[in-house]
Amino acid sequence: MNTVTVALARLLLVAAVFAMPSFAADDEEALKKDLTAVIALHGQPCGEVVAVKVLAQDDYAATCKDKNKYHVYLNAAGRVIVEKQK
């Protein structure tokens, strides 16, 4: 009985460990997709966002597949700004 409980607990722990990064990965993929769309809507070249760094809330540094880098953020006026970085 005890052994079963321990085994179950281990199983749950392992499941949690594996599940956690998967949720995070999903969120990151969604964010990349969102920023890809935003950059495209601003008419900037990008292709696809491959890396995102969160600088602050609603403030991101995005790196595109074509090596372009953008600072994407929400300004005080409620506008999404896309600035190309050098």
């Binding site: 969604a30 964010l31 997709k33 969102d34 920023l35 769309a37 935003v38 809507l41 601003h42 609603d58 994407v72 929400l74 409620g78 506008r79 999404v80």
Partner: protein, 183 residues
Amino acid sequence: MRVAHAAVLLLALAAGCSRGQRDAQAPEPADVVAQSATPQSGTPQSATPQPAPAATPAPSARPAAPRPAREAAPPVAKKPVPAPALDLNALEAQLKETKAIGLFTKITLKNQVDDLLDKFREYYQGKSKVTMADLRRAYDLLMMKVLSLLQDEDQRLASAIVSSREAIWGLLADPIKFATFQG
């Protein structure tokens, strides 16, 4: 009045991102556009034993089966579903809810919708040199952006927006309706 609501739809593109001012989330639309064009032709009408002809063991020389099949085909062929009555409140709610567009994208679209409305405002005030054709082009482009963002992951909403497209344009292109909407 319905048209007036239509304009709200444009603004609602971004509503999903904007503060939850409108709590009144309309209930799921009664299938705004949902009826897929794929009528399940093969719905086995019933489990009841079918017509005698098929069951009759006598192998008749003329094949009776092909004919009904051919008759059934034409109605199945894409029958343009008439534009359903638009429930714009529901559309707005769907735009808020849709997961096909991310938050930043929704805000960006809202910004662009606002910009377009500003252009219309300036046009009607005579402050702008743009023509109605330019505005139409800008409107079409914006619609295409929205649809391209939606069509893969939220086809139903994309269809609903397509069917409301002209109604919204009708509102924007009419100075009186536009003024009413703005007011």
